[in-house]
Amino acid sequence: MLKNKLPHHPYQIVDESPWPLIFSIILGITLLLFVCFNHQLMKHLNYWLIFSIIITIFTLFLWFKDIITESNYLGEHTKAVRKNIKIGFYLFLLSETFLFFSFFWAFFHSSLSPNIEIGAIWPPMGFENKVLNPLEIPLLNTIILLASGSTLTSAHYNFKLGNRSKVIRYLIATLFLSCLFLSGQYFEYSNASFTIADSVYGSTFYFLTGLHGLHIIIGTLFLFTSLIRIFKSQLTIQNHLGFELAIIYWHFCDIVWLFVFLFVYVWGY
């Protein structure tokens, strides 16, 4: 879109975009189908659920493609716009913090003063030999995530210095560590001797760790997108907002894991 006149302000006037509305609708449909899946309402709805998840991700991809176009090819992301986008992202992280806060509240509500129906003890009776030892895979996962935070910081530092090969190397190391974390969680989930349906312990445990795992998956995809964009030379030292936001998101996931590890695994042992 050719602009005949430059505006007298540094802010971005966003062109009309269909993606917010379309994404909201598709996400709403996905969540409804997810509820149907949980209640086993219709046999063949499960395929529709997978289909709608794919469509959701694709819509998100198209939305971000437009943002990248505005940033890279139209130059609309001035310094002021970048600062505002960062503030917006921090507000989003604040809302995610409150999301986790609510599930931590549920966990503490049930575990600090356990009901008599589970025996007024935590972990509930029957869980003595089922509770996962925090010093095994969970500790390893903590170390993996902390290490990935440090490799990511090195990647960012090298990016600012302009060392392209080092950036790519450190970013791939971060992604590799993240995959190690996810496989550790997958192993634990497959081999745990309790399920989400096993009393309030199972519910709070799987909900917190599952929600965190979902955030790690999203963070990994975000970092992977940054890697692709670095390969394609779409990021500059002045404007690498996508990369910076991915880094902030990753550190957020790391901090949430520290809380999950300390309170759910170590304290709840």
Binding site: I116, E117, I118, G119, A120, I121, P124, M125
Partner: protein, 82 residues
């Protein structure tokens, strides 16, 4: 009030327990129930101080609850190790 000639019958409730200061006395009832059965398991049925717990939980607990817990203990599904 038929036993007036033999013993003076005194009404006695469980009394204040600082571990359970609030209005909801559920845990107070439950803890005395558990403590009674742990007491007789450790000390035998004839140990007199265990009666204190017995009196407390009979005073505090609804009989529905104690019946349900007795059944759970028989089935082996009582949620607390005794």
């Amino acid at each position: 009030m038929a036993e007036e000639e033999e013993e003076e019958f005194t009404f006695k409730t469980a009394g204040f327990d600082a571990r359970f200061p609030n209005q909801n006395q559920t845990k107070h009832c439950f803890q005395n129930y558990v403590d009674y059965f742990r007491c007789i398991k450790a000390k035998g049925e004839d140990f007199i101080p265990c009666k204190q717990f017995w009196q407390a939980y009979h005073s505090l607990c609804p009989s529905d609850w104690t019946d349900k817990w007795d059944e759970q203990r028989e089935n082996g599904t009582f949620p607390v190790p005794i």
